[in-house]
Structure formats: structure tokens, C-alpha cells
């Protein structure tokens, strides 16, 4: 194997970094090209709901798409599981359950948090059973 290129680390570094930079710019642009447009008002609630989620650190114990803490269940699709009953979700947040403390959210915060959870839920499913592994090592949504 010819490794001579590695004698010029500065060159290799700059080349790799340029690719990385372009890749990053493309990531930042995802909101522009993905078909995910929402009415302005809704989009504002969702953005604020994300802040409420962060402000109260729900991620300490809960995951979205399997990312977050481990003490409680994943909440990606909790909205549709309890769709008929937003009061159930509100109740849990207000009074806590097991290791989950009570949270005193304002009415606006609760509304925005639910808008956020609704949006997360609509974005896909985190239920392992909805996917199937493929022979090449990837997985896909079951038909």
C-alpha cells in the first residue's frame, strides 16, 4: 500500500476538513429542502415546545427515537398512544409517576409541549416492531 500521501499531514487534513465542512453545510440546510413545511403558527409552537422539553430536562429520563435518558420509557409515540386523552398526558406531567417528579408547567408551556410531542409523533415511529432487518445489515420500515 502506498502511504506517501500521509507524509503531508497538512494536505490530508485540509482535504478531509473541506469535505467535512461541506457535509456540515448540507446538514444545516436540511430544513430548507425536506418536505416538512408547517404553518407559521404551528411551527412556532413546536419550536417553543422543544424549548419546554429542554427547560424541564425531560430528556434526563426519556428518549425520543431511542436518544436520551434511560430511567423512563421512550416518548416518541406517546402522543398517538394517548391521542384520545391529552388530559392523561397533562395529568402525568402535572402529578408525576414513580421516579418522575411533578412539573409545574404554565398552560402555554403545556400546550406547546404537547404540540411538540404531537409533531415528534407524526415524524415517524420508534417502535422496533415496525422495522425489519435487511440482509445487508441495514433495516427498513415493514410494509
Amino acid at each position: 500500500m502506498n502511504l506517501n500521501i500521509f507524509q503531508q499531514p497538512r494536505k490530508v487534513f485540509i482535504i478531509l476538513f473541506s469535505f467535512f465542512f461541506l457535509f456540515s453545510l448540507w446538514i444545516y440546510a436540511i430544513p430548507l429542502f425536506s418536505n416538512y413545511q408547517k404553518p407559521v403558527k404551528e411551527s412556532k409552537s413546536i419550536a417553543n415546545g422543544r424549548l419546554v422539553w429542554q427547560k424541564y430536562n425531560c430528556h434526563t429520563c426519556h428518549q425520543l427515537y431511542g436518544l436520551g435518558g434511560y430511567l423512563g420509557p421512550d416518548l416518541t409515540n406517546t402522543y398517538s398512544r394517548n391521542k384520545e386523552n391529552e388530559t392523561y398526558l397533562k395529568g402525568i406531567i402535572k402529578s408525576g409517576v414513580r421516579q418522575m417528579p411533578k412539573f409545574n408547567l404554565t398552560d402555554d408551556e403545556t400546550r406547546e409541549l404537547l404540540a411538540f410531542l404531537k409533531d415528534v409523533d407524526a415524524s415517524g415511529t420508534a417502535d422496533v416492531n415496525s422495522y425489519q432487518p435487511e440482509i445487508n445489515g441495514t433495516f427498513s420500515l415493514k410494509k
Partner: protein, 438 residues
């Protein structure tokens, strides 16, 4: 000349100690049935644990770099840069703990503290970058660990900015893009810190073996670039489940698999490794490097499997991921930090008896860590089975079913705190003695 590096190392050791302690407190929550409020609630303990441990690792890395490079130049500017870096870093740390202790936090996972404290961290890193470049200069050819350190510093700065892009509604209102960015940051940030810590390991190996040619070899650089390539493009393996652009998943899958090269190389070099282990076994700093080497095998093996999407689908979101995260931060990062601390602080085990006792502690620590990780994997398997619906039960029934593993996890975690804590306290005390430190 005052040794600023060692001050950073001492702070780092204290942070690691705090990390162990908060981790122990947080683990107890798993046995509780009610929420605790205030600082002793899980809500505060988890970020305290993660931030202490991770900031400890970063601080240690910066400390060791400082110790190594401060000998090169001792001008007024060097000192000014070093002191301002230290001052800002300490301010940031105080701010972060203040923020957690007063309950004034809420933000991204792992970086929950009030974003205002990100400012001194950011500025201090810029200063550290200037200091680093100033001390090294551009005249001579840099060796591989000097490149690794530069890489770590630059990527930390770059990703740290990305880490706060959520402040703009443009990113925040698009949930999927926001999560993608969040895990791009988490992946690269860990990669950046690893560059710093692995650079320290490289430095130690050079000094211990007395062979400084390796650090300039093409092969060493090739491996460094493999690491860099992964840092840049493999982070998508955290978000296989997230319905983001498919291409991100494919890139991550393909790039992650290039690390098999590292894995295979370890076995290719197996005989050499064993010889080296025997040769330096009684030199204590080496002992921890050796431990780190073996933890690399276990963790890299696990990481490679978990980076295959079809396997990740099942392990994802379970404590198997936690076992991997703790396996690398404790088994690899902290072992290297202990190795370097032993190297720079130079405690000598004069009597055979102390050497024996410390050996015993060393091996106990490794064994406890191994069983600790196994207990996490046990918890993880329980949850994985539940996630695929093999166990028809509610979430709380699942946690009940896994209570034996949980108990084991808490007990072993406590033991780990005691045994690792012993080495850390020992090193802190030794570092305070005069003329100990080089």
C-alpha cells in the same frame, strides 16, 4: 516557572472523583419508587454526574498537553495565555456547578447548564488554541500526537458552536434536522476529546518505550487519519432510527466499518503487545496504558457490532449503549488519564509491599469494571427484549423484572467508585507533595 498543567490535572482528578460520587448517588434512583426533589433528585444528579466525568476528562487532556508543551517556551505571552485559559476554565466550572446546584439549568442532554457558561468555555478553548500554536510554532515537522492534539482542540471549538445552534428557531422548529444536528455534535465532540486523550497515550508510549520514530511514521499518520475520518463522518450511527436523510445513515454505516482495520490490526500485533506488556509490567504508568489497550478491544468490538444498523435496531435505547459509553469513558479515557497522572506525578512504590497492594487494587478495579459493564448489559438485554415485544408487560413491570441486574449495577458501581476513587485520591495527595511533579 509555575506548573499550570498540573493544576489542571488536579482539577481534573477532583472532577473525576465528583463524577464517580454523583454517579453512585444517581444509580440509587433505580431502586426508588418515588421522585426526590432538589440536588439529590435524579433530574440534577444525572447532569452532575455526566458533566463532572466528561469535563474531568477534557480538563485532564488539556492539563497533560499543558505539561508537555509549557517546557518549550516560557515567554510573557505564554504565561499570559496559560493563566487566562486557566482562569476562564475555572470560571466556567464554577458557573456550571452553580447552575446545577441552584437548579438553574435546562438544555441539551449532557450540556444542560445555563448556556451563559458556554461562553467562557468557548473563549478559553480559543485561547488554548492560540497558546498551543504559539508554543509549538511552525518551524519543525509535527509528529502524530501533536497533530492529534491540534485536531482535538479545533474540532472541539467547531462542534461546540454547533452545539448551540438550537438557540435559532430555524433549527429548532424542524425536529428531525435538530436531532440530526444534536447527534452530529455529540458524536464529533466525543471524537475530538478522544483525539486529545489518545494523543496523550501516544505521547506516553513514546516516552516509555524511548522510541520517538514511531510518532513520525506514515503508518501512525494513516491511523490518525482513520480516526479523524471517523470523527467527521461516523456520527450518524447514533441516529439510525431517526427518520432523517437516508444517506446520512449509509455514510455512517460505511465509515464506521472502516474501523475493522483497527480491530484486525490489534490481533495482527498480538505477540508484540504481549511482549511489551511483560517488559513494562512493573512500571505503574504503563499498567494503566495496558488496561486501556485491552478495554479498546472489548469496546471497539462492541462498537463495531452496534454500528451495524440491523443490530443497532435492537440494542439502541437500551443500557447496552450505556455499557458502551461507560466502557469507553472509564475503560479507555480514564485509564489513560490514570496512566498519564502516574507518569507525570511520579509516585514511586518504594517497598515491594505497596507495589503488591496497588497491584491488587489495580486488578480489582479492572474486574469490577468488567462485571459492572456486564450488569449494564444485563439491564440492556431486558429492555431490548421488552422493546421487541417478546415480553408483554408495561414499562414498570419490565423494570421490576430487571431488578436483580439493577441491584448488581448499583453495588458494582459503588465498588467502582471506591476502587477508582482510591487511585484518584492517592494521585491528588501525591501531586501536592513538593518535587514530585515533573
Amino acid at each position: 516557572m509555575k506548573n499550570i498543567g498540573i493544576i489542571l490535572v488536579r482539577i481534573a482528578l477532583l472532577l473525576l472523583l465528583a463524577g464517580l460520587f454523583f454517579g453512585h448517588l444517581a444509580s440509587e434512583t433505580y431502586q426508588m419508587t418515588e421522585a426526590k426533589n432538589g440536588v439529590l433528585g435524579f433530574l440534577s444528579l444525572r447532569p452532575l454526574h455526566v458533566s463532572s466525568a466528561y469535563l474531568g476528562i477534557i480538563t485532564a487532556g488539556l492539563g497533560f498537553i499543558s505539561i508537555v508543551i509549557q517546557k518549550r517556551k516560557n515567554t510573557f505571552l505564554s504565561k499570559l495565555l496559560q493563566y487566562s485559559h486557566l482562569a476562564l476554565w475555572v470560571i466556567a466550572l464554577i458557573g456550571i456547578f452553580y447552575s446545577y446546584f441552584t437548579g438553574d439549568f435546562g438544555g441539551r442532554e449532557y450540556w444542560e447548564f445555563n448556556p451563559i457558561w458556554a461562553v467562557p468555555i468557548f473563549v478559553s478553548f480559543i485561547i488554548f488554541l492560540i497558546y498551543y500554536l504559539y508554543q509549538l510554532g511552525f518551524k519543525e515537522k509535527w509528529n502524530v500526537y501533536q497533530w492529534m492534539w491540534l485536531t482535538g482542540i479545533i474540532f472541539f471549538i467547531f462542534t461546540f458552536i454547533e452545539n448551540y445552534l438550537w438557540l435559532f428557531p430555524y433549527f429548532r422548529s424542524h425536529f428531525i434536522a435538530d436531532m440530526t444536528l444534536q447527534w452530529k455534535v455529540n458524536g464529533s465532540l466525543v471524537g475530538a476529546v478522544n483525539q486529545i486523550i489518545y494523543g496523550v497515550a501516544f505521547y506516553l508510549m513514546e516516552k516509555i518505550s524511548g522510541d520517538n520514530k514511531t510518532s513520525y511514521q506514515k503508518l501512525s499518520f494513516a491511523l490518525y487519519f482513520l480516526g479523524l475520518f471517523n470523527l467527521m463522518f461516523n456520527w450518524g450511527h447514533h441516529i439510525y432510527l431517526l427518520p432523517t436523510e437516508k444517506i446520512i445513515h449509509y455514510i455512517a454505516y460505511a465509515v464506521s466499518m472502516t474501523e475493522w482495520i483497527l480491530f484486525i490490526r490489534i490481533f495482527y500485533k498480538w505477540n508484540k503487545q504481549i511482549k511489551e506488556n511483560k517488559q513494562h509490567y512493573y512500571f505503574f504508568p504503563y499498567r494503566f496504558l495496558m488496561a486501556a489497550d485491552y478495554w479498546v478491544i472489548i469496546n471497539l468490538g462492541m462498537a463495531l457490532l452496534m454500528s451495524i444498523p440491523a443490530i443497532n435496531l435492537y440494542t439502541h435505547g437500551t443500557h447496552i449503549t450505556v455499557a458502551h459509553a461507560m466502557g469507553t469513558t472509564i475503560g479507555i479515557n480514564t485509564m489513560i488519564i490514570l496512566a498519564a497522572s502516574f507518569y507525570f506525578i511520579k509516585p514511586t512504590f518504594l517497598s515491594k509491599k505497596t507495589l503488591k497492594l496497588n497491584s491488587l487494587f489495580f486488578w480489582s478495579t479492572q474486574l469490577i469494571l468488567l462485571t459492572f459493564l456486564i450488569s449494564l448489559i444485563g439491564m440492556g438485554i431486558q429492555r431490548a427484549l421488552w422493546q421487541v415485544g417478546l415480553k408483554k408487560s408495561t414499562f414498570s413491570q419490565m423494570t421490576q423484572a430487571s431488578s436483580l441486574w439493577t441491584l448488581l449495577f448499583i453495588i458494582l458501581g459503588t465498588l467502582l467508585m471506591i476502587f477508582m476513587g482510591y487511585f484518584i485520591i492517592y494521585l491528588i495527595l501525591k501531586s501536592l507533595k513538593k518535587n514530585q511533579v515533573t
